[in-house]
Subunit: 440 residues, 2 copies
């Protein structure tokens, strides 16, 4: 039809802003552009926004995946001049102001790359092939299935050594993700496994948290680290500091020292990196961790019309020589600031630099156990745990999601339970490595 | 270990009852055997019980899958002498009182086959290969993905004919499943599509309900059928009676007459059949629809120690010459009666015959629109809709599931919305049949 453009978008005299990615940064930006004199096209390879901080609860049966995902089209419903396309972006051609996607090409006046981050295996292909990641909902569901399948499998072997390996969990990375997953698994071991598997000695299940540095939660205060370690140890988690996992073949995890883990499950939560986009020369535009160098306006250096926000953007300032932390808050704040700046650009006004307001960070270990670092307050324990829950409910998108998550949390708390322990799509683990076993 | 049996089950002097299937029948039976002088082994290929009557709400984004599934191990937690194994049963060897599964062999004293039913394509391989079924949670999620993907795909074509085909839904089978799915799709078309796809003329989306007989809901009263038709038509569903779909190649559904449907989606809800188990000779034991012939004690004819309940059992009585309806109620009632009978057998007392109490049947079409047939009361409309909801909440297993489903229903009702419209695992539909389109 003549009145439409590439990807069947209506032609418009308004400047077109293309946003790649519907995560925290992309959505915060979109919100700012609602009902303004711009046409906005949001692209994402999923039709939903993922609330990544709660993925570990999906993996451990505490929440259903649908309550931490939110349809992007629903977010955009009330916005004017907004268009969504389910697409994977392949590359950008800055000279022609065009991006190339799997569904076709699309011109832009301004392009915002908010594609987020993915798991960084630092080139270790063995760990990538045999370990589990937990950055997306399908990955979290795979991990949920694997955890449950391991116990079903453990029931079938007479060999104690193999059974122990099936019930051994190695979590690499002592950041919030690793800490929260380890804590949740420890609570499952204590509260659920003995009831679910009366014919299996689940006391022998082990949760190992492996950290290359000398403390966990290294982005937080010493106090928080220390308290989180205490909490984890009180739950029975084994913490291995100054330990670096070097390889994993699906059965044995090797470390730099003599230490080895025989385990059917290794979760890699030891690093993230930007998601590369073709067309932007790595030498010129990328810094450590595949992130795009941006100036104080989130503008990619040397590119007037291309911006990046969130995990994928690296704004090197005096306070942040390696860029801002790859977390929700910087993404949201950058998205908002960029939204205002793009409108200023359209109006030919000068842009305002981004100033990060550090609202602090937090991690939860388990029931009544969390650590919170705020600018002027640091606290741990029950109150921190309530603050953690309140903040997460607050940032969750959608009223229904909040209510459902709240209902689940109340239920889980009162009943010491997690009912979403369902293997809906089995994870096709190769158990033949664990020989002498019947196959499941 | 010497104190365990096959599948690592503890040896016991108690008689062992093996139940195949954790559906309505298997679970109702298990409940009766709790804390009795028997060892019970429940086998299922999933680790969860599925509440099948609400699968259509998963497909249409009204409910999350996790809230209509319930972990079988959780159901059995409070029972004594109960063991669950995640296993697929391959065959039975009645002479040695053994069943063969994918994880090994298992002896039994009494065997109960409660394996349920699967979609019956009546040998039509084209429809089986290209159509969608909706009997399991993964199938329902595939359908949910496909429905959403179709609209994303429809956005990308300029060809009106192709776009219409992508937005055309053919539901074959006018039973409760077909009626409920058609109604839900019609409500989505009306309430959600125009907001989610402002750049697509979703008024052109079509929902076709095709029924081979001369009325829909033929298991219900004439009144119910008539009213359900009225309800569906008021929602804009096209009902095609006396129409038999003969083939579907993924694009065109042919019928016995000149009528054809060009549609990217065909849902086959036109029949179910028992799930065959090896080792029981078809000639001798099976009747129409792959069901096992049973006597009034749900005992397989000629087999003292093998029983069948639910969809897979066909008890031919004067009132039910073709067996009981393949629905939840007969399965639950048969499971309960058989539970009592097995305990009688163990105590060497005579068994009591099964007497079916028909509690009526019901179907919902949409918001405030349902039809209910009870023995002495028949009613349609708002009150029927409330009764339908209450009954479904009542039979759902698990307090958390009930609360979450209730919250979703209230939300969906108040907001005219269904938020679980998420493509978590894309359904890999081949859209190349719809030529001239960009691929998604």
């Amino acid at each position: 039809m003549s009145d439409t453009d590439a990807l069947n978008l209506p032609k418009s005299s308004l400047p077109r802003i293309v946003i790649v990615g519907g995560g925290f940064g992309g959505v915060a930006l979109a919100k700012k552009l609602s009902k303004k004199e711009v046409q906005v096209v949001l692209l994402d390879k999923n039709n939903y926004h993922t609330f990544q901080p709660l993925l570990y609860q999906v993996s451990t049966g505490g929440l259903e995946p649908d309550s931490i995902a939110y349809p992007i089209r629903k977010i955009l419903q009330d916005y004017n001049n907004f268009f969504f396309r389910l697409a994977e972006v392949q590359s950008v051609a800055p000279e022609s102001k065009t991006i190339i996607t799997n569904i076709g090409e699309l011109g832009y006046d301004y392009l915002v790359i908010a594609a987020g981050s993915t798991t960084n295996f630092f080139g270790n292909t063995a760990i990538e092939a045999n370990g589990m990641a937990m950055k997306t909902i399908p990955q979290s569901l795979n991990l949920r299935s694997l955890i449950l399948e391991n116990f079903e499998q453990a029931l079938l072997t007479d060999d104690l050594h193999e059974r122990d390996a099936l019930m051994n969990f190695v979590i690499v990375g002592g950041g919030p993700t690793g800490v929260e997953l380890a804590g949740a698994l420890a609570e499952i071991k204590k509260g659920i496994l003995p009831k679910d598997y009366p014919d299996l000695d689940t006391r022998r299940a082990q949760i190992n948290l492996v950290q290359s540095g000398d403390r966990i939660l290294k982005g937080m205060s010493d106090n928080a680290s220390k308290k989180a370690e205490e909490f984890l140890e009180s739950l029975g988690v084994h913490i291995w500091k100054n330990t670096r996992v070097t390889s994993y073949d699906g059965k044995t995890a090797d470390t730099k020292t003599e230490l080895k883990f025989e385990a059917a499950t290794l979760v890699w939560a030891a690093g993230v990196k930007g998601v590369p986009i073709g067309g932007l020369d790595a030498e010129e535009f990328l810094v450590r961790g595949n992130r795009l160098k941006v100036n104080e306006f989130n503008q990619i250096l040397g590119q007037d019309a291309i911006f990046a926000v969130g995990d994928i953007a690296c704004m090197q300032t005096e306070d942040t020589p390696h860029g801002h932390p790859m977390m929700a808050q910087p993404a949201i704040q950058q998205g908002r600031n960029l939204g205002d700046n793009l409108l200023r650009l359209v109006r030919k006004e000068p842009m305002q630099p981004f100033i990060y307001k550090d609202k602090g960070s937090m991690a939860t270990v388990g029931r009544n156990k969390a650590v919170v670092d705020m600018k002027n307050y640091r606290f741990q324990g029950v109150f921190a745990w309530f603050v953690w829950m309140f903040v997460h409910l607050f940032f969750l998108i959608g009223f229904r999601n909040r209510v459902v998550v709240f209902v689940n949390w109340v239920y889980n708390y009162v009943r010491f339970d997690r009912e979403a322990r369902l293997i809906i799509r089995p994870y096709q683990r190769d158990y033949s490595l664990f020989k002498d076993q019947k196959t499941l």
